[in-house]
């Protein structure tokens, strides 16, 4: 789908999903388009031992049991709540699952402080109401209600950002599986079709903003997504996402593995420093997640492509690392300065390689920002 800036997973992998559906002879729950095993295969990629005729790429990187638990939850009576630090791939997993199960990952409600009950149930088309009165025609169903009616997966992003009354509206949807429309005299209940479920995501750093009630908690199965700390998996994720990005921007640029290593190691260093820091002032505001890492690389690639030599260098990477991670002046800048001079500089002297250039890029940006 080259005419979309970002195609949803079901469009992006439409061909792969079609093929999987055609070869899937395992039992499928409800109205699911794929069986649980095939969904796992779609998310985690196929191996030779799976005996498929074609390659299925891995799309989400993480523990196999997390994906299995998530799929099984959706096949059961409960909603799925993916909880974890920002940038751990919760929403991406939710999108992949929705795409694989119901070929529609766009039935999304974004939880914010301004989300109201209407956003998850229904609202009214005022002109239609004036013209024809309240009827099913003049009703605007929410994405969740659409999912209920079609027996597909609805998504609720950042559940804990929405206020508790909005969260409570989900309770009846998840337990009774219907929404009543008291404004109508007839046809006033929308029942969920088999296959309906909700995938919600919540940021564990937001705990305490709008805590979930126990009633809602018990209607969700919580699956915690950990931060990826395994260097190998992280390198895989960054490479995968970067390739996707390059394709999207139609940029032909090579990301040398040594440069990727510089990025991974610098993030590992900064994470260790954040873990050891005593107070908030001593650690970067950024969560230093894998997504953040991809952001740094993306920034460097775009910068090199449009303003640079059309070649990704360690200098531009150093520059975008400082630029992306320094959110607070002077605290974050001071930490980056300390990192560059305390860790990168000696390493450059010891190991050489790309580190001195990386240091120079970082230094320049700090000088500019200060």
């Amino acid at each position: 789908m080259s005419d979309l800036l970002r195609a949803p997973a079901e469009l992006k992998y439409a061909e792969e999903l079609d093929w999987l559906e055609s070869v899937d002879d395992n039992p499928k729950p409800f109205s699911w388009r794929l069986s649980p095993k095939m969904i796992r295969l779609f998310v985690l990629g196929a191996e030779r031992s799976d005996g498929l005729d074609r390659e299925i790429a891995q799309k989400w990187f993480g523990d196999r049991s997390i994906v299995e638990r998530a799929i099984v939850t959706l096949a059961s009576d409960r909603g799925l709540l993916l909880i974890g630090d920002p940038g751990t791939g919760k929403s991406w997993l939710a999108e992949l699952l929705a795409a694989a199960i119901s070929r529609n990952s766009t039935q999304v409600v974004q939880g914010t402080a301004g989300t109201t009950e209407d956003h998850i149930k229904y609202s009214w088309n005022v002109s239609m109401v004036i013209a024809k009165g309240q009827s099913r025609e003049s009703m605007i169903p929410s994405p969740i209600m659409n999912a209920m009616e079609s027996g597909t997966i609805g998504r609720f992003e950042e559940l804990t950002r929405s206020t508790s009354d909005v969260q409570d509206a989900l309770i009846s949807i998840l337990s009774e599986k219907y929404v009543s429309v008291p404004e109508l005299d007839t046809d006033n209940i929308v029942f969920a079709q088999p296959g309906f479920s909700i995938i919600a995501t919540a940021n564990s750093r937001d705990r305490g903003v709008n805590d979930l009630s126990s009633a809602l908690k018990r209607r969700f199965n919580f699956v915690r997504i950990p931060v990826v700390t395994n260097k190998k998996s992280e390198a895989e994720i960054v490479r995968f996402r970067t390739e996707e990005l390059l394709r999207r921007h139609q940029i032909e640029l090579d990301v040398p593995p040594t440069l990727l290593d510089v990025l991974l190691r610098s993030f590992a260093d900064l994470r260790a420093a954040s873990a050891a820091a005593g107070s908030d002032d001593e650690k970067l505001e950024s969560a230093l997640s894998t997504a953040e890492q991809i952001g740094v690389l993306e920034d460097a690639i775009l910068h090199s492509n449009f303003f640079g030599e059309r070649e990704l260098t360690a200098r531009s990477l150093g520059s975008s690392l400082v630029g992306s991670l320094s959110r607070r002046a002077p605290e974050d800048l001071a930490i980056m300065n300390k990192y560059l001079h305390g860790v990168v500089e000696p390493r450059g002297k010891d190991e050489g390689g790309l580190w001195p250039e990386f240091l120079a890029g970082g230094r320049d940006t700090i000088a500019t920002l200060s």
Partner: protein, 906 residues
């Protein structure tokens, strides 16, 4: 039996899958060769894997069928005598070989410890129980001795985990079967879709082998052993040790067969599957005899049983948490399902009620083993049927456990867990959820964003699946020392064998029979780790008798420590004595540490003989010491000991007299050097002076000479102000310097702007001098008052912290003294302060001394001319004469005497 058809098939497979009949063929056919060789060995080899219920069931079944006369077991041969004691213990326990005195190994390895944990669900326990309880069956341990464990493999330095029940012992286990390189294990786990090794084993070996017959079991186990061995030999050093062990075991078995004349057909050799696939030349009854067993070192080994636990075994051998517990649960279930009667030692503590050992039916007929492997490898895995009742039971149980631990779990969750377990198992290609699937399901459905209590759901499932079982060594299997401790603490009427903390209250005043218990508890406190015996109330000082004490005792929890004490001696007293002697005769021992040992000997053992021995040692150490670092400690301890002996003994022991005499001479000799030495601190010099002055009378009575001290002080020429002040104080004490002179010197210091900055340091010296010369306390108050009065703030303030820290560190001694003196000198009330003049400023000028010697009067009478001339000069007339004696006056004026007599008479 022939594996020809299998060979042909594998050869074809190798040609098909590999590019040519190369390495793959070698490995595949080699594996069949290994199996062939192990199967055709006349001495039956029984391959096992540790903590494998399938092995245990197969073993139980085989023992009944074959009823061997001799069982060779892969376990350190020196541990054999202990195995019969297993019946007195609640499993799991570990057989331990322990040595604290190494001879032949580097001293830093000490103490050496080897443990072999034994659980009920293991094949080795089946073999042991069968052999020990069946008459006429001999159990022979054939693996290398504990000594060889260290000869062949130096201990790795591992951080000791305090919670681990095994301490930092080296673990040995029967049937270690695991891929030797990480990539293979990772590959197996990845493709087996399991999380850890225990789960892989459970799913791909345990379950398929569950109900298989003996031949299949053996051949499959041989094949797995051979597979791991051929695919990944691993670290060459480890392989060499393994091969040496195999040579060792086969050499021992052949020796035993030759001596006993047993028929190999009546014997069973139980070893890990890894060793069954051995290719050493010594393998087999007919193997070569080239291996020479090296002699053991001179290290003396002690053996005993210590408690173990599932968690400790998992930690020691790198197994997944909960896997040993799950194996135990599986074992119990397999027994019910297969109706195999397990072997159990008669009277096994903690086991099921001992049945009367039924006479074994005769051995089954030996059938020629056929190739079971081809069929097994081709058969698709048999899926275990869903056991709905069991899963429902688990689901309900976990919800109850979660509720108890603060989760808001309900019946709805039990249903969800049940459903999710089945779905998860389905996704993982199994019909019946394994405990690991169930754990995942429970975590998914019950765990929310926070863990409300101490344990999370994953841990609760582990506990539910059998939990951590902690073994206990029964009373009869304890070493004599530990039994003695329990016997002697019996009057406390506590169940000290049980785990957990128990409070003991000892009212010794009303129950004097408890005094020996108190003595023992103090010794245990000295010997055992913290927490095993902890006094809550009561203390033991030199010469004090206990009245009331209360203790927190956790001897059951620290059973291993108590058992290890048993390796050092037969009674606690003996161990204490050994420890005290060891610390006193340590090459690094100082006088202070030896005196501490003397104190401990008196306090804990009340043994004048030992105290005397150690005291003599203190004397030796003191004579050899050239530094005065420990002087304050020596002073404190020798004072305490002296005070104790003076009040409790009719005469002072010989050693302490010698100690005082030697100490007096020793410190006199070192005093001038210490005064000038920069290394020696002022408190150390003060302590030396304290020793010299406070023990002076005793030392002089024992023949020392005071001149020695006077000379030593005279030779001392310190330069540091604090030490100078100390010297002045010493000279005051010796009468070489008067107080007036001392005051003048101090006033000079205050008056001289050049010496003023060093005044606080002099003052520090005086404060330290309070210890050797306490009579100077009024002077110290005076100098301190002067300091506060005259020193400028920039000098006074920086010195105050030093003063405070000195007073704090010596607070118990000096502060009450100083406060009492200050209270005496300073006015008690505010109004009095206005008129108050410090006593040192208020002293009247000294009156001229009036001599009243009798010689003047006599001179006057003898030479009256001077007196007459003065009388003339002053105009006094008359004559005078020398006064008569008192008696003459009395007779001349009797009235006074009469009046006094009347007064006294009334």
């Amino acid at each position: 039996m022939s594996f020809e058809s299998l060979r042909t098939q594998l050869q074809q497979a190798a040609t098909t899958f590999a590019d040519g009949p190369g390495a793959l063929e070698g490995i595949l056919l080699g594996m069949v060769d290994d199996v062939d060789r192990a199967v055709s060995e006349p001495l039956e080899i029984f391959p096992v894997c540790h903590h494998s219920p399938a092995s245990a069931v197969a073993m139980a079944r085989r023992l009944r069928d074959k009823q061997p006369k001799v069982i060779y077991l892969e376990l350190c041969e020196d541990m054999a005598p202990l195995l019969t004691e297993l019946r007195n213990c609640r499993l799991p326990v570990a057989v331990q070989a322990f040595s604290s005195e190494v001879d032949g190994f580097p001293a830093e390895w000490a103490p050496l410890s080897v443990v072999a944990p034994i659980t009920e669900a293991s094949a080795e326990y089946q073999a042991i129980a069968y052999a020990l309880d069946t008459p006429g069956v001999e159990l022979v341990l054939v693996d290398r001795s504990s000594d060889h464990v260290f000869q062949w493999q130096p201990p790795e330095t591992r951080p000791a985990d305090e919670d681990a029940l095994h301490g930092d012992a080296v673990g040995v286990e029967i049937g270690d079967l695991r891929p030797r390189f990480a990539e293979l294990e990772e590959y197996l786990l990845h493709h087996g879709k399991v999380r850890h090794w225990s789960e892989w084993w459970h799913q791909y070996v345990e379950l398929p082998l569950g109900d298989s017959d003996h031949d299949t079991y053996r051949q499959v186990m041989f094949l797995i052993g051979s597979l791991f061995r051929r695919l990944a030999p691993g670290d060459p050093r480890r392989v060499r040790v393994d091969e040496d062990r195999e040579r060792y075991m086969w050499t021992r078995m052949r020796e035993h067969l030759a001596v006993s004349g047993a028929d190999p057909a009546d014997c069973l050799y139980v070893c890990g599957a890894f060793h069954a696939a051995s290719r050493v030349a010594e393998f087999g009854v007919d193997g070569s005899d080239g291996f020479v067993i090296s002699p053991r070192s001179a290290t003396v080994w002690q053996h005993g049983l210590i408690p173990s636990s599932h968690a400790a075994i998992e930690a020691q051998f790198g197994l997944a948490a909960g896997s040993v517990s799950i194996a135990a649960t599986e074992w119990a279930k397999n027994l019910r399902r297969t109706r195999v009667t397990p072997c159990q030692l008669a009277g096994q503590a903690g086991g099921k009620k001992a049945r009367k050992p039924a006479a074994l039916p005769g051995p089954g007929p030996e059938l020629a083993a056929a190739d079971q492997l081809s069929g097994f490898l081709r058969r698709s895995p048999v899926l275990d049927r869903l056991d709905e009742a069991e899963l429902l039971g688990w689901s309900v149980e976990i919800v109850r456990a979660a509720r108890r631990n603060g989760y808001l779990a309900s019946t709805a969750d039990a249903i969800a867990v049940f459903e999710t377990s089945i779905l998860l198992a389905g996704m993982r290609d199994r019909a019946r959820p394994t405990p690991y699937d169930f754990q995942d399901a429970a975590v998914t459905c019950i765990e929310k964003d926070v863990v409300p209590g101490r344990r999370d759901v994953g841990r609760l499932v582990e506990i539910m699946m059998g939990g951590d079982r902690i073994g206990q060594v029964g009373y009869d299997a304890l070493p004599p020392l530990a039994r003695d401790v329990h016997d002697r603490l019996a009057p406390l009427d506590l169940k000290l064998q049980q785990r957990g903390v128990q409070r003991a209250l000892l009212d010794i005043a009303s129950r004097p029979e408890l005094e020996p218990c108190s003595n023992l508890l103090w010794m245990l406190r000295y010997l055992l780790p913290r927490g095993a015996a902890r006094p809550i109330m009561g203390e033991r000082k030199l010469g004090e008798r206990p009245i009331q004490e209360s203790w927190d005792l956790a001897l059951g929890t620290h059973q291993r420590a108590l058992i290890e004490l048993g390796y050092e001696g037969v009674s606690v007293e003996q161990v204490v004595e050994q420890r005290l002697r060891r610390s006193a005769y340590d090459p690094q021992a100082t006088t202070a540490s030896v005196l501490e040992a003397v104190e401990d000997a008196v306090r804990y053992l009340h043994s004048p003989r030992l105290a005397g021995d150690l005291g003599t040692r203190a004397l030796e150490v003191l004579a050899g010491e050239r530094t005065v670092d420990g002087a304050p400690e020596v002073l404190r301890r020798s004072r305490r000991l002296l005070a104790y002996y003076r009040t409790n003994e009719p005469v002072l022991p010989q050693w302490i007299e010698s100690f005082v005499r030697t100490g007096y001479a020793h410190y006199c000799t070192l005093l001038p050097t210490a005064f000038t030495d920069e290394e020696a601190g002022v408190d150390q010099v003060a302590a030396m002076l304290g020793f010299l002055f406070s023990m002076e009378s005793l030392a002089l009575s024992l023949g020392c000479d005071r001149t020695q001290l006077e000379l030593a002080v005279a030779q001392s020429h310190p330069e540091e102000p604090a030490k100078v002040a100390l010297l002045w104080a010493a000279r005051v004490h010796l009468g070489r310097l008067s107080r007036a002179e001392l005051r003048v010197r101090c006033d000079d210091l205050l008056g001289n702007p050049l010496s003023l900055p060093s005044y606080p340091r002099y003052l520090s010296g005086f404060v330290h001098a309070l210890d050797p010369v306490p009579s100077l306390v009024d002077f110290v108050v005076e100098t301190m008052s002067n300091a506060f009065a005259h020193l400028p703030d920039p000098l006074l303030l920086p010195w105050l912290p030093t003063l405070i820290s000195t007073l704090r560190s010596r607070g118990a001694q000096f502060v009450p003294l100083l406060i009492r003196e200050a209270g005496r000198l300073f006015p008690g009330r505010l109004p009095a302060l206005d008129e108050w003049v410090p006593p040192w400023l208020d002293q009247p000028a000294p009156l001229a001394a009036r001599t009243t010697s009798g010689t003047g009067l006599a001179l006057l009478a003898a030479h009256p001319a001077t007196c007459d001339a003065v009388a003339d000069l002053l105009g006094c007339g008359g004559s005078w004469q020398a006064a008569p004696g008192g008696a003459v006056l009395l007779s001349r004026h009797p009235d006074t005497a009469v009046a006094l007599e009347a007064l006294l008479a009334t």
